[in-house]
Symmetry: C2
Subunit: 200 residues, 2 copies
DNA sequence: GTCTATAGTAAGATAGAC
DNA sequence: GTCTATCTTACTATAGAC
């Protein structure tokens, strides 16, 4: 081992992402990121001249790519709405490790007083996600308001189940959430009245 | 103004709480806490010898007290289940400022690698909250599994709507959540089958 | 009880050898 | 591309006057 081999970009991003998802942006230190990746601080700066902010930014960009490939694309496919949603749910289960890993959209929120460098990326991610899910529900013959209301609720429920799972140190809230999600999204309208003061 | 007057404990706790709810534990610096309270750093150490950790700990304790007074007590009262839940929802709306302020249970999670000094308080808060809501639903003639499933879901939905609201910089997800919460909790069973793989 | 002033420490970031 | 060593800053924490 005269000369240390280059660490692959993909594994690097994954390792960094794991740290940010676990402790958030402010909680992540270069020492942690160094330990997690196996690269010394100076090496991280060679790869990310912008330092921690650039690392988090690229991790967020990676998450956006993942969202497009594993959520938005399936949701916009030509399969039945139920099948599209089922694919989304399967991919979410993998991505969040059954509820053991948190969501960057929550963990990277409001790092600094100006809502942070990732505020726009986070806002955009929520918007396109809700939008894509909403369109899948429109394809399932729901009216636009109901579809949007349910889509937003589903994303909130998902995020919240991860929060509760983390807080209670158990994955069951997340698993229960995923298990009921498809049925709930596609349940007949009267049961879940979207008409209840939907401020869209 | 020869001698600065003592800052009241209650307002002190509120100001500190606001900072932690906005930027989390790691994100909060003594400079921020000093600016928010109007007390210099040394004064904060006089009040909280344990430093930032003690401040956050007392803030969490205050949140527990609030939870007991404004959530657990109403949920355990002798009013109708619908009335109890309505009271909870009203108090939540006030506490979270209509969705503008985040939840400590989320913002104080996992500050350090060992899940942090507040992990137990957070876990307990979720448990008693879900438990109390669940019992109110049992009083509304739901079976225990359904009650627990819906209670856990409601808390998750609430937490998630705050996450989404923060991420999207709008309060509507939270408002929609609160607006539909009572109806959803008390809706007749067939619409929200609790039988879907409830791992309690 | 609050303050100014100052340690002490850990974090982010850089320089230059290999 | 990675490393050791160092710099600089910002944060936590303390000492002692008022």
């Amino acid at each position: 081992m005269a000369r240390p081999a280059k660490v692959e970009d993909s594994v690097l991003h994954t390792k960094l992402s794991d740290v940010f998802r676990e402790v958030g942006y402010e909680g992540a230190t270069l020492a942690m990121l160094s330990a997690a990746t196996g690269l010394k601080k100076a090496s991280l700066y060679h790869r990310f001249p912008g330092g921690k902010e650039q690392m988090a930014s690229e991790v967020m960009a990676g998450a956006e790519t993942w969202l497009i490939e594993h959520i938005l694309t399936p949701l916009g496919s030509k399969a039945t709405p139920a099948a599209r949603i089922a694919t989304m749910i399967r991919n979410l289960d993998t991505f969040y490790c059954g509820g053991k890993k948190a969501c960057l959209l929550n963990m990277l929120s409001s790092p600094s007083a100006d809502r942070g460098p990732f505020a726009n990326m986070i806002k955009n991610a929520f918007e396109v996600w809700i939008g894509a899910l909403s369109r899948a529900l429109v394809d399932a013959e729901f009216d636009r308001d109901t579809a949007h209301f349910r889509a937003e609720r589903a994303i909130a429920l998902l995020q919240g189940s991860l929060v509760v799972a983390r807080g209670m140190a158990t994955t069951t809230p997340f698993q229960n959430c995923l298990a009921s999600l498809e049925h709930e999204l596609l349940a007949p309208p009267p049961s879940l009245p979207s008409a209840v003061a939907t401020h869209v």
